[in-house]
């Protein structure tokens, strides 16, 4: 919708955007979109026409309108007008009301967003303005923790050097802060309103697009041009953090912003049953036309053979009418009569059933999250049965699978493990959950979130174990955390990666409190005494190094290098004397890793002054060098980071949401494939994959694809495929990593087919290549053979592309679940989108079809609600088609006996009421309440979910069976009364083989037969079913008697000509015998068939029912697979959410609120003189991102 609006405004697509600051008149002529967003479809005036237009675009509605018009033509009208108009009006108005309510809520949320306030510089004054009134070219002021209103060019900020920090969680799901920096020329403007108001730079930049990581443009101001990159841009949806204020110029507003461009089009989602239904309806139309043609031909023949003579006798006054023309008219008449093959009430009933199912979802207490008072919410009411057919789940990581809370769980110091807590298997019970946690209250500034339950570490600290002290000191020193005091005087850490935050917080809790830092010093409060270390060097993190170090001089004058990093890297750098400790720590690391914890190894090195000075000089030389600068620096880093002394290891838990592991296990037992799509780094993603059991050590291979060109990616994919097929068992390459090669070879030797469990890990850049070229099929083939796919560093749009890929090629039902704005496009493109509610941002929930509070409720949503919905909907459809074929086809048979004159078998009123009154409620009750097995059974036995995935309960074959059943019933229904009424006289000799008695007999038989049928189909008889089934039959007789009563006839003799008929017919024993015979004849074969099927080929649910019956008293035993985790692999990734470059920020002091920002350290001076550090930073980040040659990642 948003896109449409934009296209209306810009009929020709924009190629380049020219924006002039503070000049609304200038910008107006380009007609850029303003900052108002629309997700709503209608307003009060346009609602009726647009909604009606939309509704009549639906084939079914248009068809019924067409029928209605046909009926108004007297020559072909064979039914009275009310038989069509009553249901049609009912359907249209119900849908309209629903659409109106939906749109009302969209209006509400739009208004809420559009009316947010922001400070805009208008006429040289800062004024509060609503978001929607912000125009392109305006300069707006943002304050800390505010949402950014539009895509801005950062002009100046409160921080030195025009820096500002933004949180982009809404955009890409990453929660770490990102740095943006204004151009030096604009950052000089500061907060000076008058000079900002005079700012008249012109920005020429790219047209609106959805690429979050890219921006190119040029700012022309004061006769000079400045290149603009993504670093200068703050996007809508970001939140300003850690920055008091900043000024920005609006470049893209409203629908043009990257956020909105990324949100994808709002698509009208249809379930596969819907699509099948549409196909079937078209088939039925075809069938209808065939029947019409047959009957029209019949009519032509009859008219020329008999009708001609007959007409002169009966229709004496009628003019000549050719038999062909009569046949033509008959065709349309029969189209009208037989229209009930596709009853309009089908669509209403389907909607009602779905609505009911949605309410059940909303009402389910087992999906209610008490902590946030959040019940599950079905935001769309049209997709429920598809929940029972999911084959692929695409899940976001942060906030969906994980809580995004890092906790320091365990550590190994000098060969001793601290923090052993209750283990699942109960092996280590020194500490149980009941035992109270370590009391941190004695410490000066405890962090309440930490629950460390091992007292022995406290004891060791108190005993003064030097290794333990060194360990904690390292944690307090070696990091990139910034500290500040909030208004309450509390120490607040500004962390760039949550892992680091956890470590520093842990150290703080154990008495080593990181207090503050300057570019040259770090102050730590060690067990109550403040100690200031001199920071001599900062050896920053990079993806290749996978470690970081600091070199400090302590007050005693000793120089120490503290290092933390991935164990695999760090262990190679250890001094040989560490051998014993190494193997011990290694065991511990394995233990931690197998518990799903993220590990880091910790080591230090004592340096002597001379050596360090020499090294420092070399480093400064290297940094001043113009050639091979980076290589030389990294060589020096390598040089000093050796002969390390191992201290131990840390284990941090990326806390999973509750019940994630169980849910994933159960869902994969239900044959659902789970893909994780995350914006996070590869290591993080893989680690979480292991933690939540998506990846397991039992897997035969995990393929990692990290290629940078299409060819590379294809090669990697093909090689992986070869391994999968076992064609090349000796294959070994750096491109593909598998966990346990021996096991793999064993497997392949024993079995050639793809039987093992495989997983694929692919990063965003490889994915881009894989998606855009002919590699697509390779990817898809491989991915679908894998049990799990993990995509990391993917953009929001790529998430959607992955979903689209699977949707397009696999013909499978997909579900996307996520919590942030970066998941919106994925949620929108998947068949079913689920938003995790209760988080800060609402975008995911607003775009979703279902909102859950927790990932774990997905299990119940799919296995219970989805399964039931699908089961019920299928049963409903089967019955509905059966019913209407049985009901309608008697007209076809009757045509052969009434000269093809389009005479209906039933009373017109019966035709009007049959579908909406006499038979609607029992089938609705079945569609809403029926259960084949209980919810507990469906949870315990995930295999029950499979019929939905395989589309077994309602497909074309099923449809034909239902139709055949209907045809059979219609035959019995017509020919038994026909045979019986032939030559018949009533009990008192009177004529009862008349048309009206026949109609009443048929109608009664039909109502009874379909009621018996629904009674058989209903497997779960609640009070409601009883009331509806018996009630419907009773209603039929009641209405019948009323309509055939004297009083009604007295008032409307022409409309109700059946006076006395019901009473007369129903008092004849003969009629009842006919009704009974029809019921027996039409129901018995069905019962026989079903019973035999149940005996000979019982379905799983049949077996469960039978088994349950056999042991009613016993509760079903949970047959969940025990979750075993082997401890064969170790997974360590350095500070997972870490970004390179912070070291420079720290040593340069640029991110510190120093009173005097003038550079003091020589190191910094040199840096500053050399190249702008931020350019350095950008270069390095792009290096890491796009030229990652590190393809062999040991997992």
């Amino acid at each position: 919708m948003e896109v449409d609006v934009r296209q209306m405004i810009h009929p020709t697509s924009e190629v380049e955007r020219v924006v002039k600051a503070n000049d609304r008149d200038y910008n107006e002529k380009f007609q850029y979109a303003d900052n108002r967003i629309y997700t709503s479809k209608y307003n009060i005036l346009t609602f009726l026409p647009i909604n009606l237009f939309e509704q009549f675009q639906r084939v079914a509605n248009a068809y019924f309108l067409f029928l209605l018009i046909l009926q108004l033509i007297p020559e072909i009208s064979s039914l009275t007008w009310f038989t069509t108009i009553v249901p049609l009006v009912l359907v249209i108005s119900m849908t309209a009301v629903k659409d109106a309510t939906d749109d009302y809520f969209r209006h509400k949320s739009d208004n809420q967003v559009n009316n947010r306030q922001s400070e805009v510089l208008i006429n040289s004054k800062l004024q509060n303005e609503k978001w929607m009134n912000v125009k392109v070219g305006d300069i707006i002021k943002l304050e800390n923790n505010q949402f950014v209103a539009a895509d801005l060019l950062l002009l100046s900020s409160s921080e030195p050097h025009g820096l500002c920090y933004v949180e982009t969680a809404e955009l890409d799901g990453e929660t770490n802060l990102k740095v943006r920096q204004a151009l030096p020329v604009t950052s000089e403007l500061g907060a000076d309103i008058s000079s900002l108001a005079k700012f008249d730079g012109i920005v020429i930049c790219e047209a609106p697009n959805n690429k979050l990581e890219k921006f190119s443009g040029v700012l022309s101001w004061k006769d000079s041009k400045h290149t603009l990159s993504n670093q200068k841009i703050i996007l809508r949806g970001c939140v300003l953090r850690n920055t008091r204020w900043c000024f920005g110029m609006v470049l893209f507003a409203g629908p043009d912003t990257k956020l909105m461009q990324n949100s994808g089009k709002t698509k009208f989602k249809r379930t596969s049953i819907d699509r099948l239904m549409n196909t079937l309806v078209i088939w039925i139309f075809g069938f209808l036309v065939c029947l019409g043609i047959i009957l029209a031909v019949g009519n032509s023949i009859w008219e020329s053979e008999f009708g001609g003579q007959f007409r002169t006798f009966l229709f004496w006054g009628e003019g000549e009418k050719s038999s062909l023309f009569s046949g033509f008219l008959t065709f349309w008449s029969y189209v009208i009569i037989l229209n009930t093959l596709v009853p309009i009430s089908l669509y209403v009933s389907v909607e009602v059933i779905r609505l009911g199912h949605s309410y059940f979802i909303n009402w389910d207490r087992k999906m209610y999250y008490a902590a946030k008072a959040m019940p599950a919410e079905a935001r769309t009411t049209t997709l429920n049965e598809e929940l029972g057919q999911i084959e692929y789940i695409f899940s976001d990581k942060t906030g969906t699978l994980t809580q995004n809370i890092m906790t320091f769980k365990k550590c190994s110091i000098n060969g001793r493990v601290y923090g052993e807590v209750l283990d699942d298997l109960g092996q280590k019970k020194e500490i149980t959950k009941k035992k109270e946690g370590v009391d941190f209250s004695g410490k000066s500034q405890p962090e309440r979130t930490l629950h460390f339950r091992d007292h022995s570490l406290m004891e060791s600290i108190e005993l003064g174990d030097p290794k333990v002290h060194e360990f904690l000191r390292l944690l307090a020193l070696c990091h990139t955390v910034m500290s500040e005091e909030d208004s309450a005087g509390q120490l607040v850490y500004q962390v760039q990666s949550p892992d680091e935050g956890a470590l520093v917080t842990a150290a703080r809790n154990f008495g080593f409190i990181f207090k503050s830092r300057t570019p040259e010093t770090i102050t730590v409060e060690e067990l109550g005494t403040p100690v200031t270390y001199q920071l001599l060097a900062f050896l920053d993190f990079s993806n290749i190094r996978k470690r970081m170090s600091v070199i400090v001089r302590n007050p005693e004058g000793q120089i120490k290098l503290y290092s933390k990093g991935a164990d695999t890297i760090l262990f190679e750098k250890l001094h040989p004397s560490n051998k014993d400790l190494l193997s011990l720590t290694s065991d511990h690391l394995n233990e931690f890793a197998s518990a799903g914890l993220r590990t880091l190894a910790i080591a230090y090195r004592d340096l002597d002054d001379k050596y360090f000075k020499m090294w420092q000089e070399m480093l400064e030389d290297a940094k001043a060098a113009t050639t091979e600068r980076d290589e030389r620096i990294s060589g020096l880093y390598e040089e000093i980071e050796r002969d390390l002394m191992l201290l131990g290891a840390t284990a941090v838990e990326d806390k999973l949401q509750e019940g994630v592991i169980e849910t994933i296990t159960t869902l994969s037992l239900a044959n659902i494939k789970i893909w994780i799509l995350t914006g996070d780094k590869q290591e993080t993603a893989i680690n979480i994959g292991y933690a939540c059991n998506v990846l397991t050590d039992a897997m035969d291979a995990v393929f990692v694809v990290t290629g940078n060109t299409a060819v590379e990616v294809r090669d990697e994919l093909r090689k992986a495929k070869e391994i999968l097929f076992g064609q090349n068992t000796s294959f070994s390459s750096g491109h593909v990593v598998y966990e346990s090669k021996q096991q793999l070879e064993l497997d392949l030797g024993a079995d050639e087919a793809v039987t093992g469990e495989y997983a694929l890990v692919i990063n965003g850049h490889s994915l881009a290549h894989a998606l855009e070229s002919d590699v697509e099929n390779d990817l898809l083939e491989l991915a679908c053979m894998c049990k799990t796919v993990v995509c990391c560093r993917v953009t929001p749009l790529q998430k959607a592309q992955v979903v689209e890929l699977v949707k397009k090629h696999r013909n499978a039902v997909t579900l996307a679940i996520g919590d942030g704005a970066n998941d919106v496009s994925m949620i929108k493109s998947a068949h079913i989108g689920i938003g995790i509610s209760g988080q800060e941002g609402l975008q995911a929930v607003l775009a979703s079809d279902y909102a859950l509070a927790q990932f774990r409720y997905l299990q119940r949503l799919l296995l219970v609600h989805g399964r039931w919905s699908y089961y019920r909907m299928c049963k409903f459809l089967c019955y509905f088609f059966y019913k209407n074929f049985a009901f309608t086809l008697v007209h076809f048979w009757f045509a052969f006996f009434c000269g093809f004159s389009a005479q209906t078998v039933y009373d017109q009123w019966f035709i009007t009421l049959f579908n909406i009154v006499y038979t609607s409620l029992p089938v609705l009750a079945m569609g809403i309440f029926d259960q084949d097995v209980s919810d507990q059974n469906s949870m315990d036995c995930p295999q029950l979910y499979e019929p939905g995935q395989l589309n077994l309960l309602f497909n074309k074959r099923r449809f034909f069976i239902c139709v055949a059943h209907g045809i059979y019933t219609s035959l019995a229904l017509f020919f038994i009364p026909y045979g019986s009424f032939y030559n018949l006289a009533g009990e008192d000799g009177q004529h009862i083989a008349d048309y009206q008695s026949f109609a009443v007999t048929m109608a009664t038989s039909l109502v009874i037969v379909v009621s018996v049928q629904i009674a058989l189909d209903t497997s779960y008889w609640t009070v409601v079913n009883h009331v509806f089934i018996w009630g419907s039959v009773a209603t039929y007789f009641f209405i019948l008697l009323i309509m055939h009563s004297r009083s009604v006839f007295g008032i409307f003799p022409q409309q109700f000509p059946f006076v006395g008929n019901a009473w007369h017919s129903l008092s004849q024993k003969f009629v009842w015998l006919v009704v009974l015979l029809i019921s027996v004849a039409s129901v018995m074969p069905v019962v026989t068939f079903r019973f035999l099927k149940m005996c000979l080929y019982p379905s799983l649910s049949d077996q469960i029912r039978r088994w349950q019956k056999a042991q009613r008293k016993e509760r079903p035993i949970r047959n969940r697979r025990p979750q075993s985790r082997s401890s064969s692999s170790r997974r360590s990734g350095y500070a997972f959410a870490h970004q390179e470059g912070y070291g420079e920020l720290i040593t340069s002091g640029k991110n510190m609120r120093a009173e005097s920002p003038a550079p003091t350290s020589g190191l910094e001076k040199m840096l500053y003189n050399n190249t702008s550090w931020i350019e350095n930073l950008c270069k390095k980040t792009t290096d890491v991102v796009s030229f990652n040659h590190d393809k062999t990642a040991k997992l």
């Binding site: 007959f310 059940f360 389910d364 019986s980 000799g989 019973f1091």
Partner: protein
């Protein structure tokens, strides 16, 4: 699970059986014993019912005489509708081999007359026939008004095409004595038709009430002269008219024409012997290749039907029993294999 702080209970869904989908219910299970007992019971019942129906159908006596071609000359005469006012009678003698005991009913039966044509059925005015608004002819197309634009009473195609043969039955005791079998003209129509659906306008004199109207085109006399002897059987409430107006479901149908008045010779029914139908042949059927006959019939407890229902019941019963045995066999077989398996 840990105890969560519950600060907003208002959003907690209610714990009702309906909302939690825990409504007390019983599951419909097709267990072998239930299915089998239902099957055997149904099969047995249908079989018995079939036999009873066949036997009772056999016990009825029915005699049908098709007089379309017996009165060939009349038939030919009627093929030309311009001869509609010419009288044509014919006599059809027949022999009744056995007594017809009990109530005997006389029907006329038409073959190939489509009283169920859509536009034919619609072509009537219930308001008119109700006597309330006798000038309401708007639904009677194409027989609304006569050629000189006076409304037709009773209007419409159904009334226009009324079966207008007169049939009397005479009992030929011997070659010279012909006794006209007494027949009742009443009790032919449904009670509701006669007293609710069809009513004469409230007027002392029918002829004046219908003054200014035209008779239907095929009729020889106006509606108020249908039965001048019996005012209760004249006008709209004439039972022959009522019976005809109740349109038949199928092109072949029989309609009650007269009932035997069980007096004198005929107190127990129709004795065996020689009879003849005297027919005033007015109703043309050969134009549309139809046929007509007259039927004499007795009834049973269920009315007068054919063998069809009985036969169908028998067949259904037999098939159901067959299915029951098949199911029983399969069930036993499965049970045994299951036991062996265990």
């Amino acid at each position: 699970m840990e105890v969560m702080p519950q600060y907003d209970l208002s959003r907690l869904p209610e714990n009702t059986a309906l909302k939690q989908q825990k409504l007390p219910a019983h599951r419909l299970d097709l267990s072998a014993s239930v299915v089998l007992s239902i099957f055997f019971a149904t099969g047995g019942f249908c079989l018995c019912m079939g036999v009873i129906l066949i036997l009772s159908a056999k016990s009825t006596k029915e005699l049908e005489i098709n007089y379309t071609n017996i009165c060939a000359n009349c038939a030919q005469l009627r093929e030309d509708s311009s001869n509609f006012d010419k009288e044509c009678t014919c006599s059809v003698p027949f022999y009744l081999p056995e007594n017809m005991e009990g109530n005997v009913y006389m029907y006329y039966k038409l073959y190939g007359f489509h009283q169920n044509l859509y536009r034919y059925i619609l072509s009537r005015s219930n308001r008119q026939l109700l006597g309330k608004d006798i000038w309401d002819v708007k639904d009677c197309s194409p027989f609304q008004v006569s050629r000189n634009s006076t409304p037709i009473i009773p209007c419409g195609a159904i009334a226009n095409s009324i079966f207008n043969d007169t049939i009397t039955l005479s009992y030929n005791l011997n070659s010279s004595i012909h006794i006209e079998v007494p027949m009742l003209k009443s009790g032919l129509a449904w009670w509701t038709d006669k007293y609710v659906k069809f009513q004469n306008p409230r007027a002392s004199d029918l002829a004046s009430a219908f003054a200014g109207s035209a008779k239907p085109l095929h009729w020889t006399k106006p509606v108020y002269e249908l039965d001048t002897d019996d005012p209760g059987n004249n006008g709209f409430v004439n039972e022959d008219l009522i019976v005809w107006m109740r349109t038949a479901a199928f092109p072949t149908f029989k309609k009650l024409y007269r009932r035997l008045k069980r007096v004198d010779y005929f107190a127990v029914g129709l004795p065996a012997g020689n009879y003849s139908f005297n027919i005033s042949y007015n109703f043309p059927v050969t134009v549309f290749r139809g046929e007509k006959s007259v039927v004499l019939s007795t009834l049973t407890w269920i009315g007068g039907g054919g063998l069809f229902l009985g036969l169908t019941y028998t067949v259904t019963g037999a098939l159901t029993l067959l299915a029951s045995f098949a199911i029983l066999a399969i069930h036993l077989m499965l049970k045994r294999t299951k036991k062996n398996f265990l």
